[in-house]
Symmetry: C2
Subunit: 164 residues, 2 copies
């Protein structure tokens, strides 16, 4: 079997594993996968606008808005209109949100970290370097293919043109 084929199969396995873990965490936190992803994104960035969130998660603003609505109702996130630019809406975790993300969501990561730290240091470096390689290749790929959102925006722009 070719190395590249092996790599593809392994990548699928990795995706599948993380997918199942996400569902595990969802179950434990009572959040849906999408809500969880948003919370995680927010945990890493502290302050983001709705648009930035959408770009980060590769979703539409409209979709993010509806996810935010539900998280806001649960009081896990808070929205605040920008003072400098009043069009912008800044989103952040509430205390409850921070608290929730302290629990279950991290334990999966902790498990990974624990396993990861069991292996030799030289191998850790090797894995990181390899992941960098893969991440870079995948990134180059969807630059080649032009990302989804940009295409959507181009289409919309064209439509807008042709409508007038």
């Amino acid at each position: 079997m070719e190395n590249s084929q092996k790599a593809l199969v392994l990548l699928r396995q990795i995706i599948r594993s993380t997918d199942m873990q996400d569902k595990e965490i969802s179950r434990r936190t009572g959040l849906t996968p999408a809500q969880l992803m948003l919370m995680q994104t927010l945990r890493e960035n502290l302050q983001l606008t709705t648009g930035e969130l959408a770009k980060e998660m590769a979703l539409t603003q409209a979709t993010v808005t509806s996810i935010l609505d539900r998280l806001e109702k649960k009081e896990l996130i808070a929205r605040q209109r920008g003072t400098e630019d009043k069009r912008k809406v800044w989103v952040s975790l509430t205390d409850d949100g921070v608290e929730l993300m302290k629990g279950a969501p991290t334990t999966q990561q902790d498990l990974f970290v624990r396993h990861f730290e069991d292996i030799q240091n030289w191998e850790q470096s090797m894995v990181v370097a390899s992941l960098e390689r893969v991440a870079f290749m995948l990134n180059a790929q969807h630059l080649d293919a032009a990302p989804l959102l940009d295409i959507g925006q181009l289409d919309r722009a064209q439509n807008d043109h042709s409508k007038n």
Copy 2:
């Protein structure tokens, strides 16, 4: 920054990239991500029952049934009642389904393969070994945590007990 933290960040990046690529392919094939995943699973296994598909995709049978309904309407898959065990329903790609999967879905993989084959052979081996490492660690993890479906089944079994 710790090696383990780097690895986690890179993993997230990789997930994100493949996620965006899936959406790209979805757009080109006219299939939703879920439908695409099912078709891919089917391409690799030729003949699966509804239950096997559900397990493979980490979804409920009920969910798989509804996705199958739509793919059947598009005549991309076919259902056939088992002859030996008439409870089972065997699912397979139709000719149209095979044809569709020959096109766009592979080009992304081809892109990856092309990039992958650009790098030195020793580095290819290193990447494969590392991905194996990661896949193994992630796998060990959700064995630790007990997979979603098994928990669901246990719960259901307990409920059935307590009901009688």
